[in-house]
Amino acid sequence: MESWRKNPVVFWLLNLPPAFWLFVFFLVPLGIVWVISFGEKRGVIDIEITWTLANYVRAVEPLYLEIFWKSIVMAGIATLACLIVGYPVAFAIAFAPERLKAILLIAVVLPFWINALIRTYALIAVFRSRGSINFGLEWLWEQANALLGLVGLGELALLGEKFVPVPLLYNNTAVTLGIVYAFFPFMVLPLYANIEKIDRSYIEASLDLGAGQWRTFFSVIFPLTWHGVLSGVIIVFVPALGAFFIPDLLGGTDSQLIGNVIERQFKSANDWPFGGALSFLLMYLTFGALALRAAVSGRKQGLEA
């Protein structure tokens, strides 16, 4: 890495446009909410900035901390699931013939070019008691019963008197699945960009030297794509933390995540100072985690060097 002094013109050319955009169109707007989070409500829309910490004190009450924790766990599980499903997909695309690559990439993102909400509703149509999956299961159940009837076990009703639909919707599993479905391409795309650059000769060398498929994967391929994994994990996990309409639509009676609470503050509760405080707390938490990761990977790099 070179010092910026060595090449100030290039440095500023590269940095000025994004820094300007970030500052004017992101940090300034965000600053407004940050200031509001230190305010007190005085009327329906009047907020007086008193630099009180009351909103933050309220945000760390056990009630909200528990919801924070629950959100972290759910987003974590969903991210892991995304990684497990996304890695093979990204791998397949990266090693596909050049011609197919673009088509496969598009195939991954295409469903995401229609509205997220419609997608979630489509998911409901598949999962609900009288949805596709349960109809499929019912069909299997009928076939199995018919089979049992054939072998003379029909009377015993081994599979129950009546098909009971599996409750796939309105619980935390449905929320996790919904998040995985919603953020899938954000895992696949960075992984693809990383896997694609692996030097094939490493893999061949590993296989030639007698390492098995699994071993090659875990000790050669996976470490080489570590940065892609991290990028993917960050851009899935972090937005998943703030998800709110997925738990709204797919969740059961106990699927409230911190995103829902924040949303209500900005909407029905009309409590912007508290909504701001919760949002910033969420951001500080994420930043803590990211800093931790930077420290860990920094040390790792140091060891490797």
């Binding site: 890495m1 149509a125 598949v126 109809f135 795309l189 960075p190 951001m283």
Partner: protein, 260 residues
């Protein structure tokens, strides 16, 4: 309440397409085949307008956000400078922030600076475009950076040693190497923009409604086949556009060399 047949185990998107032909005001029970919702969607001027708005925003957003994202990624990869860690942190903020908080921040910002509202067409979308670019370029940066990490720096040095200018090195060495990362990043930016509802909702005015905002308010009461019809049209158009784009792109790809 009879079980509608012929729809077992269909993937969600296909189900959506199938149901756009459903002859029922609601989308729950199959009541026969019809084209009337396509006719209805087509005649709903506002749906088409919203669609055009969405596409315009997504295209501009993808172009600008990709450029900004690549610039940041290269700068962070190449240079050492004081305050770099903090700078990197701030760049991550748009990814970290809850959508609704950013939406509210943008609304408050545009209201406070008095962003003009009665502008002629593409400009009415300017505030949404600005907001979309602000939240999507860091996603591009993260993706591109992931790709840059393993870049063999000696290639760059060699290029410069051989007398290539800064620009030539960038154009012929760095960018071709980055290509898959840039494509992935651009796809993310396009997807984010086309899909965003929350931030757009808070920044949109009467003349800048996008398809997700339009659909969201329709869908909250019930998913009508009209919505499915509009979405199906959207899928078809994007597929055609993508295929065409790929057709046009492939010759230049050949010419651009095999590195990447």
């Amino acid at each position: 309440m009879d079980a509608p047949d012929g729809r077992r185990d269909l993937p969600p998107i296909i189900l959506l397409v199938v149901y756009s032909f459903n002859d029922s005001r609601r989308n729950i029970v199959w009541r026969g085949f019809t084209f009337k919702y396509y006719e209805k969607a087509w005649n709903t001027e506002s749906l088409i307008e919203a669609f055009v708005n969405s596409l315009a925003i997504a295209v501009v957003n993808t172009a600008v956000a990709t450029i900004l994202g690549v610039l940041v990624a290269i700068a962070l990869w190449r240079f050492r400078f004081p305050g770099k860690a903090a700078y990197e942190g701030f760049m991550m903020l748009p990814i970290v922030i809850p959508e609704i908080c950013m939406g509210v921040a943008m609304m408050a910002f545009f209201a406070r600076v008095g962003w003009p509202t009665g502008l002629p067409w593409p400009l009415t979308l300017s505030n949404i475009m600005i907001a979309h670019i602000a939240f999507s370029f860091p996603f591009v940066a993260v993706t591109v950076r992931g790709r840059l990490v393993g870049f063999n720096r000696e290639l760059e040095d060699a290029s410069k040693d051989l007398g290539a200018s800064e620009w030539q090195t960038m154009r012929y060495i760095v960018l071709p190497y980055l290509r898959p990362g840039i494509i992935a990043g651009a796809l993310i930016a396009f997807t984010l923009s086309l899909d965003d509802f929350v931030i757009t909702f808070f920044t949109a005015g009467p003349n800048s409604v996008t398809l997700p905002v339009k659909i969201f308010s329709m869908v909250r009461f019930s998913v009508t086949p009209e919505v499915n019809a509009a979405s199906t049209v959207l899928i078809v158009i994007t597929v055609i556009a993508t295929v065409l784009a790929m057709r046009f792109q492939s010759p230049s790809r050949r010419a651009g060399g095999e590195e990447g």
